[in-house]
Symmetry: C2
């Protein structure tokens, strides 16, 4: 059996071990790119399914835009090219020839989508235009880490155009709220949200809202963003519409996205020394059924009983799996499914079957229960809900326990080594003060509405509002 | 309103017009790449959903492999590189530097997937390994045409490894049968299937089975393929396993795929002068509900009635849409939804509402029916089924009408201009004879089990079995 590094002593290695042994991902021969293996892919598909449903229910439509973007497009928005240039992968040859204009493998699709928006938008009747794309994007990565930082990653990117600034702002907030809902109610991950600082915002945006959280090692992970884009993109692509008064105007744009990073977040927020722990609502396998074979066992009879349980659960929409392998011991199977984070395990042996009961164990270590077989369809769903709730609460307690109020960088900066976490403090919003965080390898994560501190963490001038500071992935 | 080119006189232009005006796709600024617009994307998602379900039900798991493949990988299988080299797009620079080894943007993923299979497969217990990937691939295209020939396209590629040749052959046949089921029962497209000739098979395969059909202009379209790969890929990537006797052996490999071409096939097989006609089972909108507003109309009341119909249909799983626009005339709406190929239209005006009826029209031009509102949930599903069946029958009749038995190329070759279609003839299976088809811009589509002709179409030596010949997209 695989051994995982100590989660307390070497969190980074533990993470890699879990990713590898739970078969979420594997290294590829292409530097910075990973293989997302079937179990990791199934998890991503669960997340996708939920998010795609909400994206459609909130009035967006999926479309597919090209992987390649002419290099000149990226250069049209000045901040945008500055932000992305160092990370680009560039196709210079194709079809056996050198290309006249190199093509960039998309790092994000604002430029090409805005080019098309300019073709499609003519009148206020064409607005709002609300598009989403599920896609792979490429940003050259120097320090790759599975799911968290990879050269190629998978995401959805929403792109919308609106007649008024108010509508665009509402869109930015609505999609941020959708992300929070996904994190809280499906991934069981409590998040902080707020505006990014000028330094940290998306290249070309007026405002970037982030949703992020702390991993168990006290480092923050940005899980996704929702941007109010400047009209500079509309200007750059000459995107204009005739408004209701007959005047030509530039639309207001937004974009928002979240990625396969969410899989990494699930591992780092919920996992323990035994491996993954997956929230029931998005676990690819919610219940694993293990027939306990012994030498005296009638294997067929047990498998039939397991199958009856499987069918009952399937009928009420619960995703389960029967581990009918006859080579592994029950202990080895328990170990494996715990590693893979399956929330509930049902064990059934010959004696249980004769008594018409089964045993329920869960991944959070709650005491095992013996329940009558005819109560499965009532007990399992409520137990899964209970686990979902417990996981969110546990994660929330951890987040709060690592969330500190602080006054001066000179005091909390050194603490980031021994007491990593989220430091809420005052800030004058001067970039020079933010720069000082680099000394401690920290950064501002987002601004918060609260004002608990009166002075800036560095220059001690009056604070405009609180800011959250942490080290991050 | 948009006008479509005459489907009889200029089929190619008609196709482009339908694609553009029905908003399935649009040109992009990147040569050979197209934008798949929301309506086209929704159609592809319907096809994907069905196929993905069957891929999983037949024991495959989805995974995600890198977009980039080291150039040296492509070169490992000799026939493979020869087949794909002219179509490759190559990344030479990334992260601000020239790469030591150029990266190929995947034209297909055999090489990188087999490299990983070699890492994952050790024993007969690791077999069969059955993986599928939904992905974008790039093959540089000189004569692009939306959905049919595009530089970037979307597909699924299945890749499996088996302990025995028999198992691998069974897999190839099973997935071919799945494709036929998809075409016949969902896309309402009758297909021909059979082995590709040595010239036409996949670079690196021992056998390639194809499923294809005739478009209304008599040209064939290959819609997908299922390959039995040679063990040469296993040798190239040193993929070995210990069999049950303890001997090291090379596994037998398959791959199979189908693409966004299916969307093009739907257009070309079913469409008419008015535009698209979509088979109900995969139409993104199966029923469009049009309230007939007039000056005397109580719009609210009509919308309420339309909404009641919508909810009833939704409850029985029918995808419908209410066209509540108040600017367009009913006639303009009829035109638009016919262009978009929606199978059934429900019209409801004030007088209908007072009589508690509505009017049902369909895209095949069957006589309009007036039905009581309380019969909608029984009438609509059976009417949709009826349309599905009619569409398949109609397409099958067209295919048979363009399927000719022929003896000599000198006779049927010239006919390809005036009487395009599928010519079934005898063939000695000599490549030299196949070469002669180029004179008439035709090719072998597949071998068929029948033997209706005794002699080869060109050299007149004995025929081994019949072959189907056509011009193709």
């Amino acid at each position: 059996m695989a051994t995982l590094a100590d989660i307390k002593k070497d969190f980074a290695q533990w993470y890699q071990d879990v990713i590898y042994h739970a078969q979420l991902a594997d290294h590829s021969p292409v530097r910075g790119s990973f293989i997302i293996r079937p179990y990791g892919c199934a998890l991503w598909e669960q997340i996708q399914r939920r998010l795609d449903q909400r994206i459609k229910e909130t009035g967006h439509q999926n479309a597919l835009f090209p992987l390649f973007i002419p290099e000149s497009f990226i250069k049209k928005e000045a901040q945008h090219v500055e932000g992305f240039a160092p990370e680009l992968a560039i196709v210079t040859h194709a079809g056996g020839k050198e290309l006249e204009e190199p093509l960039v493998v998309r790092p994000t699709s604002e430029t090409i989508i805005h080019y098309m928006f300019a073709k499609w938008i003519h009148s206020w009747r064409d607005l709002p235009l609300k598009i989403n794309q599920w896609a792979n994007v490429v940003r050259w990565e120097m320090r790759p880490r599975a799911f968290l930082r990879t050269t190629e990653f998978f995401w959805q990117e929403g792109h919308t155009a609106h007649a008024t600034l108010q509508e665009a702002s509402d869109e930015v907030q609505m999609m941020l709220a959708e992300y929070v809902d996904l994190a809280h109610n499906w991934l069981a991950i409590p998040v902080i949200t707020g505006l990014k600082s000028e330094t940290e915002k998306f290249p070309g945006a007026v405002q970037t809202y982030t949703f992020e959280t702390l991993m168990q090692d006290g480092k923050a992970l940005q899980m996704g963003t929702s941007h109010l884009l400047s009209q500079s993109f509309a200007h750059a692509f000459d995107m204009k519409f005739q408004d209701q008064q007959g005047t030509m105007a530039y639309p207001y744009l937004t974009s928002w996205g979240t990625t396969t990073r969410l899989v990494g977040a699930l591992v780092m927020v919920h996992g323990d020394q035994k491996g993954l722990i997956l929230p029931p609502k998005i676990a690819p396998i919610q219940v694993v059924i293990i027939p306990i074979f012994t030498k005296q066992t009638n294997a067929d009879e047990l498998l039939q009983a397991a199958n009856a349980i499987y069918v009952q659960l399937q009928n009420i929409g619960i995703r389960s799996y029967i581990d009918s392998d006859t080579h592994q011991t029950p202990g080895a199977k328990f170990y494996n499914w715990e590693l893979k984070g399956v929330p509930v395990r049902i064990e059934i042996g010959m004696r249980d079957l004769q008594a018409q009961v089964c045993i329920i164990a869960d991944r959070l270590g709650n005491p095992k229960q013996t329940i009558p077989l005819n109560q499965i369809v009532t007990v399992i769903p409520s137990h899964l809900m209970h686990i979902q709730t417990m996981m969110f609460q546990r994660a929330q307690e951890r987040l709060h326990a690592m969330w500190y109020k602080a006054q001066k960088l000179a005091e909390f900066g050194p603490l980031l080594d021994t007491q990593p976490g989220l430091y809420q403090t005052g800030w004058c919003q001067d970039i020079a003060c933010e720069e000082q965080l680099k000394v401690y390898k920290a950064s501002t994560r987002c601004l918060v509405q609260e004002k608990t501190q009166s002075h800036c963490f560095y220059c001690e001038k009056p604070s405009k509002q609180d800011v959250l500071i942490a080290r991050s992935y």
